[in-house]
Amino acid sequence: MRVNWTGGRLTFRLDPEDEITGRAADEHPVKLATNTCTIAGVPDDAHPDLFAVAAWTVVAPWTRRRITFDRAVSADVAAALHDGWGVDAGPVAAEPRRTGRALAISYSGGADSVAAAAIYPDAPFVHFRRVPHPRVPNRWPHYRSDVLAKLAARTGRDLTTVSSDLEFTLAEPRPGYPEHHAVAAGALLLADRLDLGGLAFGYELGSRWLGGDRYLLRYTPDNPMWAPHGAWGRLFAAAGVHIVLPVGGVSEAVTMRLALNSDLKDYVRWCLIGTDGPCRNCAKCLYKEIIQAAVERRPLDTPIPPTSGKAKKWLQPPPYGGQEMIAYGLARIPGIEHTMFAKALDHFEATEESTRWLDHCYPPSLDEIPPPWRDQAAAFLTTHVGLMTDPERHRVESWGS
């Protein structure tokens, strides 16, 4: 792979061994759509390691053996690429980037990143906004990134919105981040300007420790995407921007509760479709409604008919990502046995007692937060959430086994 930056415009070319169909860090096969993308409004004099890591968040799935950058990187970044992916990176000549002092929040507007924002009320936001790609037809116009950007602007936080078409480099399964970390590409290029030493993501317990999302569905202390000692964690650290997961130890029930109790509750939006509010009709809205109903201890309120395919995933026997939250919901939503989820009750023996661990914070997640930002998160989560007991910790550590 050879990458070239012109300002914020990235162009990349495949080496002979690279292929159109690649694999992301979560082992998901991904197909390349096109080899250019743009990240708008970023400085063109950022440290070369920042350009390198930003490029890697886009091209990693399609790179097999080596990557050649258009400007020399530090030996630290080259080593992180080699150790993490077995990829030879060069040229190597730059001094490493000094870790910055500030922490910014990669803010999506969803409940998880709002919860992260609640923990650090003074941290600035960097918001990634999808814009159309000039060369790829946009078959997803219902994705309302403009609405999300407006909501982010109304939070009153110090906000930098980065517009990018980088999701359109991915043809299949559909436009999206080639790697989950591509959401940070803009923040990385802004890291010198914002003096960033850390970037906080809203990834929660399921994603960090339970192998959720598109991942393994079992306890994952060495999660390559989010563990500080994993490939991505080490690469970001090498560029002086540590990955910080302030809500990495709490479930989506907790992030939902924290978000709904926060100053930013009016701007929370996990649905990518609705304009005046969540659409209430998409699969994600249904999933979040289960969590919200459980947190608010009220009956399920959804316009989705029981026969809809959107509930299908949750009616299958486990395992699947987000399964712990379905169990949590089934145990707490009044009248759940009269909803489309009646059948799902057969697959779970969920009680409030058996799902209470999901109301508390997994302590090792606090140890993973770099020292400059650890105490603030630990104090907040100890006060507002509470730490898991040893038996509760065991629930995390035996997940999926």
Binding site: R13, P16, L32, A33, A171
Partner: protein, 114 residues
């Protein structure tokens, strides 16, 4: 005031003619009611039609089935083109980096008798 005297035979004829031409009052009333009902129904139908016209004017016409298919196929074809472009550059770069000796000498192939 003048009174016109009509011969009784004629009067009888006229009455017979009138009787045959005018329906009884009860029938007449029923006819009127029917007409009323029909008018009301027509009015409702007209209102519904007007609403339909308004709705059709406001919503864009559904795309013809061909439009959908063509848009879909064009987008898919473009995906293929963009991917081919990437692969072409990959091949070009491979040849370039291998040096001129690696390029097959098509000139000689074209002139086997030279």
């Amino acid at each position: 005031m003048m009174r016109v005297l009509v011969p009784s035979r004629l009067r009888a004829k006229v009455r017979a003619w009138l009787d045959s031409h005018y329906v009884p009052i009860a029938d007449h009333r029923r006819d009127l009611q029917d007409a009323h009902r029909e008018t009301r129904a027509l009015r409702d139908e007209l209102a519904a039609l007007r609403a339909e016209v308004k709705r059709l004017k406001e919503t864009p016409p559904p795309p013809a089935p061909d439009t959908c298919r063509l848009a879909h196929e064009t987008a898919q074809a473009l995906d293929g083109l963009l991917q081919n472009e990437v692969l072409l550059w990959q091949a070009v770069d491979e040849l370039r980096s291998a040096g001129p000796g690696a390029v097959p000498d098509r000139g000689t192939e074209a002139r086997p008798c030279a």
